[in-house]
């Protein structure tokens, strides 16, 4: 929230032209009701679909979608890939806490394999979505991933996307000690932040790892579409 507002402030954007759209979940409360701009707090999963209508009808609105991984990538996954395919001028910021936090800590489409959750007591059996590669594959012009432990890079990326046109996507790895951390043996926010700091590697370093080691770490940075 802080970094997004700082970016808006640095760019001296007119708050009257800003529209924040969010879905349902913890992250959906980042803009609504806290931001002094137009906010649209929508149905679970449908933030991008609502934003599509507002942006198409009034292209002057700088339309920023802020929501969570479950909202944007699971129940709303279809809208995410289609908005990316259309390269619609939406700025999507996805807070990824790797769990369904608001509903009590159930496994998400972004939970790493082996995650202990309220619905995967023996560990999550599936691999998570790689959201950045997903949206790039669907046609997005820009995708980046940073953890909240990388505030400078994250703010630079947000500022960059606010000046770009077309569909942009920023995945923000964020800690949820209450629902995610405590079940993985990371009881406190500092422990979770330390885990993120340790796991997150710049993309170039991550690429140099052997494939088996890559799964244990998280690639961060700006992603580009691989050549066809």
């Amino acid at each position: 929230m802080n970094l997004l507002l700082r970016s808006i402030d640095e760019l001296q954007l007119d708050l009257d032209d800003l529209l924040f759209v969010s879905g349902i979940g913890c992250a959906a409360w980042i803009p609504s009701p806290h931001f002094n701009a137009d906010t649209l707090h929508t149905l679970h999963g449908r933030a991008i679909a609502f934003a599509t209508g507002a942006k198409l009808f009034n292209p002057r609105l700088l339309t920023i979608v802020v929501s969570g991984d479950g909202d944007l990538a699971a129940i709303g996954g279809n809208h995410l890939i289609h908005a990316a395919r259309r390269n619609l001028d939406l700025k999507v910021i996805c807070a990824n806490n790797r769990i369904y936090g608001m509903t009590g800590g159930q496994a998400a489409a972004t939970s790493p394999r082996g995650t202990i959750s309220a619905t995967t007591p023996d560990g999550c059996p599936d691999d998570p979505f790689d959201l950045c590669r997903l949206v790039l594959g669907a046609g997005a012009g820009y995708a980046a991933r940073y953890a909240v432990t990388q505030p400078r890079e994250l703010q630079a990326a947000i500022g960059k996307t606010l000046r770009m046109s077309g569909f942009t996507f920023i995945e923000v790895l964020s800690p949820c000690p209450t629902q995610y951390g405590r079940r993985q043996g990371l009881e406190t926010a500092p422990e979770l932040l330390a885990e993120l700091r340790e796991k997150c590697l710049p993309l170039e370093q991550w690429r140099r790892l052997p494939p088996a080691a890559r799964r244990e770490r998280i690639a961060t940075g700006e992603f580009t579409r691989e050549p066809a």
Partner: protein, 390 residues
């Protein structure tokens, strides 16, 4: 209601046209000022979006988009409406089912929109190209919680045009989703359409700074701003106060909001409900029908009259809010009331009278009546007229 109504010239030159019902509906939407359409193809409604795609391309300031599914279609309409658009979508049974959650969102956020449901036989995938009117109850109770939609039932190509304009006007006046419950048969029917020189078109009331979700009148319709006007709008599908702040723990706030959402329709039902009478002046037998079925009922009235029976037709142009008072009045003037429905929907407990508060369930059910209704039933099960008066 402080809605603004103006006379707007018809975008199509006035005159006689030969159109399908779905094409007429699309032209009605254009005439009503619809400037945002989002939809997903589905039989038997697709001609609406096809015509709007072609017609919007030649008109200024109108946005058409084919979305990835019905959920996205109606949600993008709601987003566009809050950006200032007059928005609509069209679908049929399976898509209408998918849209129900967003319909509740539109009801709670008081978002005016028009949804054309060109009905097909259900449940499930059913029969995509066959006529039915089985979405009647879903239109009323499809989304969870307590709200009052408005639903119109056009019976002709002419009414597909006219009632679409009415639907937009009602949506703008009361800030509600309005349904056009056409049937496959009226959607695909081809007949004459008279386009007038101009239409009366309503525009939502906006008073800068006024609360967008509250009104001093407990049955009032609030001012509706749009994004980008500097109002710093808070639009949420959660229970909220008059400025949009979430009040999810306050029972009084919820009761106040939901009461107004219902009362703004129910207390204005006399202005919303629309019926048409045919040969009812001296009738002893009345048929109550709506939509395409009313065409058969109209023929049946003439045939009964030729046979010396004093028959008449009460045709419901609005099905929600229900014309309970009008039917009750009819019940005190005729001996018998018949309600024909298409064979696909022939469960007696589908009938509004059986569900409406104060309804007696006392409507006749002609068990042998066919959809075509070429001949009046010889031995209808009927009820005493008194029983139909509530």
């Amino acid at each position: 209601m402080s809605v603004t109504e103006t006379t707007v010239s018809s975008p199509l030159p006035p005159g006689k046209y030969y159109f399908s019902g779905n094409e007429a509906l699309a032209e009605g939407a254009i005439a009503a000022g619809c400037n945002y359409y989002a939809g997903y193809p589905i039989t038997p409604s697709s001609e609406i979006m096809e015509r709007l795609a072609a017609r919007f391309a030649g008109l200024e300031g109108r946005v058409f988009i084919q979305m990835e599914d019905e959920l996205a279609s109606i949600c993008s309409v709601i987003g566009a409406v809050w950006a200032g658009a007059k928005g609509m979508t069209a679908t049929s049974g399976p898509g209408f089912s998918l849209m129900q959650e967003a319909i509740g969102y539109a009801a709670l956020t008081e978002t005016p929109l028009v949804l054309a449901d060109i009905q097909r036989a259900g449940p499930g995938t059913g029969q995509a190209t066959k006529v039915a009117s089985g979405d009647l109850m879903q239109a009323k109770w499809g989304s969870h919680g307590d709200y009052q939609p408005i639903a119109l039932c056009p019976w002709s190509v002419q009414e597909m045009y006219e009632l679409t304009i009415t639907a937009f006007n009602l949506a703008e006046t009361y800030r509600v989703p309005v349904f056009l419950l056409g049937e496959e048969a009226v959607g695909h029917l081809q007949e004459r359409l008279d386009i007038p020189a101009a239409n009366r078109v309503a525009r939502r009331h906006y008073q800068p700074g006024a609360p967008p979700f509250g009104h001093p009148d407990p049955a009032g319709v609030p001012s509706m701003p749009a994004f980008g006007q500097g109002e710093k709008l808070l639009v949420t599908g959660s229970t909220h106060d008059e400025y949009g702040f979430r009040r999810t723990d306050d029972p009084a706030a919820h009761a106040r909001l939901v009461a107004r959402l219902n009362d703004k329709i129910l207390q204005h039902r006399d202005r919303i409900v629309s019926t048409r009478s045919y040969r009812l002046e001296d009738a002893e037998i009345a048929i109550v029908a709506y939509g395409f079925t009313a065409r058969s009922a109209w023929l049946a009235v003439d045939e009964l009259r030729r046979a010396g029976k004093k028959a008449g037709l009460l045709r419901l142009r609005t099905i929600w809010p229900f014309a309970a008072a009008e039917i009750a009045a009819l019940g005190s003037s005729v001996r018998q009331i018949f309600v024909p429905v298409p064979p696909a929907d022939r469960r007696p407990d589908h009938l509004p009278g059986n569900h409406h508060p104060g309804g007696t369930g006392a409507v006749a059910w002609p068990a042998t009546w066919k959809n075509t209704c070429a001949r009046a039933p010889t031995a209808p099960r009927s009820v005493p007229a008194a029983a139909t008066a509530s």
